[in-house]
């Protein structure tokens, strides 16, 4: 696929902006000549039809949730309601400058205030900040809150975070950002955190634990209350990664489980689009212990008037330019308003039903390391399907059948892992088709393995050489190559 830089250039096309309507002054009079650009500027100058064709063609080389089944485990690729797109583009929202006078931003502030309250109640916790703009950003903010909390208590020696070996990579990375070291706790034979190992690891240097509930194996920690109690008794705090909230929306609340920080992934649970990798939003809910340290500004309401509260000396400060990803918050707000309590509950019911249904059928063909009730996702293994066949081969062959592969090679504790999360917005028919495809691939693996090794064949490109991409990375269009 060629890039925009390879399109035939037109001359300066113009037509977007009107002519200057004020008397022009010489640029050299307005700007010091040393500061005027003399460097190359190789942006293509194209007509609008060329731009339209190019990006339309690119879009057809992509696969989104609207194209087909997208069972990426832990990503919750549910359908993105189009109403959300419409409300997020309302000029009153999209056209609002963040430095607008507070009295002229009442609608936006009201939305932020109300969403804060809704998320706080969904979490069952004391307060919420909408500032973090991604799950990892929420994790980082949570770790900053931990640090502030212990600093305030003179317990800065608490420098260790415990996390299970099934943790998502962002967890230890976020802890490290805040200066914590991480200790991995093994999972037991049923895939839950090993209580004994956890107990042994607990001492006065532990700041707390980072857990995903249910965990990345799709298994709900049966001992969650015991775990959080152990951590609190030892003087630590509990961080909950809320990536898997889709599994217990409307059923239970992380606040009741003992969470001190809980992050939402609005682009997962709350249906806002994933955008090819972002933007998302990672608001955090906190317990009483941490509410004072939340980022500024906080959104407040007094006598029906909404405002921004910057006055919070104990705050960790800010983690974003302004108030978080407002237009993402708009989408999530519309979604929650549409669903209501009944709708939220129906989400987790159907998500969990779909996952267990698929698990029950697929375990007949693929190894299922943890065979029991799962929540909204489950992990299979591609090991032993056939000689010389890896999960990667299976994933690439799925592409030929028009399905997006599940998450592969994660969590790290399962060899040749295939993490499948159907979500509630898929029909039984789609699930049956998917199961049939996977069953067919298992047969192909034994009878005609070349089909897998050479997959994908029905994609815009064949299997890509990732080694070459990694070895001498070419990260920008090589303009000079053309001259050769």
């Amino acid at each position: 696929m060629s890039t925009i830089f390879e399109c035939r250039c037109s001359e300066g096309i113009g037509g977007l902006f009107p002519e200057l309507d004020v008397p022009a002054q010489g640029v050299e009079q307005l700007i010091d000549p040393l500061l005027v650009r003399t460097q190359l500027l190789r942006l293509p100058d194209l007509s609008e039809p060329q731009v339209a064709r190019h990006y339309t063609a690119l879009s057809k080389m992509n696969f989104g949730v609207d194209d087909g089944f997208y069972p990426l485990g832990s990503c919750t690729m549910k359908y993105n309601p189009k109403l959300n797109e419409d409300v997020a583009s309302l000029p009153g929202f999209a056209g609002l400058h963040p430095r607008s006078d507070v009295l002229r931003s009442q609608g936006a502030l009201q939305l932020l205030f109300e969403l804060t309250g809704l998320l706080r109640d969904i979490a069952g916790m004391a307060d919420v900040s909408l500032q973090p703009v991604a799950g990892a950003h929420g994790e980082m903010s949570g770790m900053f809150l931990f640090k502030k909390y212990f600093e305030a208590r003179g317990e800065s020696a608490r420098k260790r975070i415990l996390l299970p070996d099934t943790a998502h990579g962002t967890n230890p990375a976020s802890a490290a950002l805040a200066g914590f070291s991480v200790t991995e706790i093994p999972s037991d034979q049923v895939g839950m955190i090993d209580l004994k190992a956890l107990e042994e690891a607990l001492d006065e240097t532990v700041a707390g634990v980072m857990l995903t509930v249910p965990n990345t194996l799709g298994i709900f920690e049966a001992n969650i209350l015991q775990v959080t109690k152990m951590i609190h008794t030892a003087g630590g705090l509990c961080y909950f990664d809320g990536a898997n909230l889709n599994s217990f929306l409307g059923q239970a609340r992380p606040g009741d489980m003992g969470a001190d920080v809980f992050h939402f992934n609005l682009h997962k649970t709350m249906s806002t689009p994933h955008g090819g990798g972002g933007p998302g939003a990672g608001p955090i809910a906190v317990s009483d212990l941490l509410a004072d340290y939340l980022p500024v500004p906080r959104i407040l309401q007094e006598n029906g008037v909404y405002g921004l509260d910057w006055d919070n000396p104990d705050s960790i400060g800010s983690v974003h330019s302004f108030y978080g990803n407002f237009l993402v918050a708009v989408r999530a707000f519309a979604y929650i308003l549409q669903l209501g309590d009944e709708g939220l509950r129906t989400v987790s019911e159907n998500a969990v039903l779909n996952a267990n249904y698929l698990q029950e059928r697929l375990k007949k063909t693929y190894p299922l390391p943890y065979d029991g009730l799962c929540k909204h996702e489950f992990v299979l293994s591609g090991k032993g399907i056939a000689d010389g066949i890896t999960t990667l081969d299976i994933a690439k062959r799925l592409i030929d059948y028009g399905v997006h592969p599940p998450t592969v090679y994660f969590p790290l504790t399962v060899r040749e892992a295939l993490m499948i999360e159907p979500t509630e917005t898929e029909s039984k028919e789609t699930l049956d088709q998917f199961a049939e495809i996977l069953e067919t691939i298992a047969v192909e693996a034994k009878e005609d393995p070349q089909l897998l090794h050479e997959a994908p064949r029905n994609a815009p490109v064949r299997r890509l050489d990732q080694t070459q991409a990694a070895k001498n990375p070419v990260l920008t269009y090589p303009f000079d190559e053309k001259a050769e």
Binding site: Q25, L34, N62, G64, L72, G169, G276, S318, F333, Q338
Partner: protein
């Protein structure tokens, strides 16, 4: 519920095949006390039409389309070509996720590659990533990166940095225990670099700075010793202004909202991040790299992934996972639509109109530019009178102008900052001058 395709028959069949009699049984693994303590929100289910109406009412309470926007400070009211929104709304782009399976993500990956190229062309740096959350976190991560490379524990930061960038930087530096040394500014508004400490991991310069003044980066890099030069710049000015890469910048960051994004009450935004090729392994964020497929055709895949959290975990260059991909796509389409000619043109429109307004206002008795330094599309005015009162009168007259509080906080008793973009017509500017002239 509208978004759930399963019928009750489907559910019955699925329950039967699992071997349970009710959905309730599928939640038996959640401790019963948690189920009992659950409290609903007290929200009814609502129709799409109702919710559309509710949100419409909220949006109308924002009076944003009435006022003539002169707000700036990193976020600007720019014209976005119609084509951007249309192409961006293609669901193949918006409903896809991170391109972990490159063979079916060539749209995203090719666009990322184009975006990286655009950022490098604008800034004249060697490599760029596929986006950070916003200009503030991009700057914070640049400082963290410089600290990883130089390990001096101190960075120099100008007092003329936007307050929202400084606030985020303060938080990240507190968390990572990096000390901030403040750089004052001269009378003309540019940075005063004569008495910097010897040992620094980096020096941060913002240009144009918080006062709108363009900094001269000429010769700076040579006087910095080992410290890395981090420049936070304004991407839309780079059609007109010499880019930081020409002056030896080591890391360049920016807020990319001006490149085709709505103001959106401050989010989502777009962090640009570019650096030298030799620092690739220290650079945070995703990158798309060119490669070939099994047939030898050109394709794109995520490159240098071993820097990232999903592989390096606690030793990753950053914890960033989800970034601002769709916003980067918007910027890519915007730049493809305006081209180099368009970028120069929009830069000139901003420059000329801002100076026209400044000249018109400073012709009024008592109004002066706070700084003599060259500016692009934003400037600070000293006000003859109570800036808060003048501000309110401008608002009454239908102009959105930033309140003087931020400037007061840094010692400007009576000043206002105004930003002028290509969208401001001569009529609007003349009326503003007239209103100010009429205030006594």
């Amino acid at each position: 519920m509208r978004y759930i395709p399963n019928t009750s028959d489907d559910r019955r069949e699925m329950l039967a095949s699992i071997g349970v009699s009710s959905i309730e049984e599928l939640f038996a693994d959640i401790p019963s006390s948690l189920r009992e303590n659950f409290q609903p929100l007290g929200l009814p289910m609502r129709s799409e039409m109702e919710v559309a109406s509710m949100l419409g009412t909220m949006a109308d309470r924002n009076n944003s389309t009435d006022a003539v926007c002169l707000l700036g400070g990193g976020i600007y009211d720019h014209y976005v070509p119609s084509i951007v929104g249309h192409l961006l709304s293609r669901s193949e782009f918006s409903t896809a996720y991170t391109p972990y399976q490159p063979e079916i993500s060539q749209g995203t990956l090719t666009a990322m590659f184009e975006f990286q190229t655009f950022v490098c062309e604008l800034t004249r740096m060697e490599i760029a990533n596929a986006s950070m959350y916003d200009g503030a976190t991009a700057l914070a991560e640049a400082v963290l990166m410089a600290e990883r490379i130089r390990k001096k524990g101190v960075v120099a930061v100008p007092l003329s940095l936007f307050s929202h960038l400084r606030r985020v930087l303060d938080t990240y530096c507190w968390a990572t225990e990096i000390e901030i040394h403040e750089i004052p500014y001269k009378e003309d508004g540019t940075v005063e670099l004569t008495s910097l400490p010897e040992e620094l991991s980096a020096i941060v310069i913002q240009t144009p700075n918080a006062f709108g003044v363009i900094e001269s980066l000429a010769g700076l890099k040579d006087r910095m010793g080992e410290a890395l030069l981090i420049v936070s710049c304004h991407p839309l000015s780079l059609g007109l202004l010499q880019p930081p890469g020409a002056f030896g910048a080591d890391i360049v960051v920016a807020e990319g909202q001006s490149l085709g994004l709505p103001m959106g009450y401050g989010g989502p935004l777009l962090g640009l991040f570019a650096t030298r090729r030799e620092y690739l392994r220290q650079m945070p964020g995703r990158v798309s790299g060119r490669t070939v497929d099994a047939d030898g055709n050109t394709g794109y895949a995520m490159a240098a992934q071993t820097r990232e959290q999903h592989i390096r975990r606690q030793r990753a260059t950053s914890n960033i996972c989800t970034n601002s991909a769709l916003c980067a796509l918007a910027a890519t389409i915007y730049l493809a639509s305006i081209g180099s000619a368009g970028l120069r043109q929009v830069g000139e429109l901003n420059l000329q109109k801002a100076h026209y307004l400044a000249d018109g206002i400073t012709a009024i008795d008592g109004y002066e530019l706070a700084f003599s330094g060259t500016f692009f599309n934003e400037f600070v005015l000293n006000i003859p009178g109570d800036a808060a009162v003048i501000h309110d009168q401008l608002v009454q007259a239908g102009f959105a102008v930033e309140a003087p509080d931020d400037l007061r906080a840094v010692g400007f008793e009576n000043a206002l900052r105004l930003a002028v973009t290509e969208k401001r017509t001569r009529e609007e500017l003349d009326r503003l001058i007239q209103v100010l002239g009429g205030i006594r």
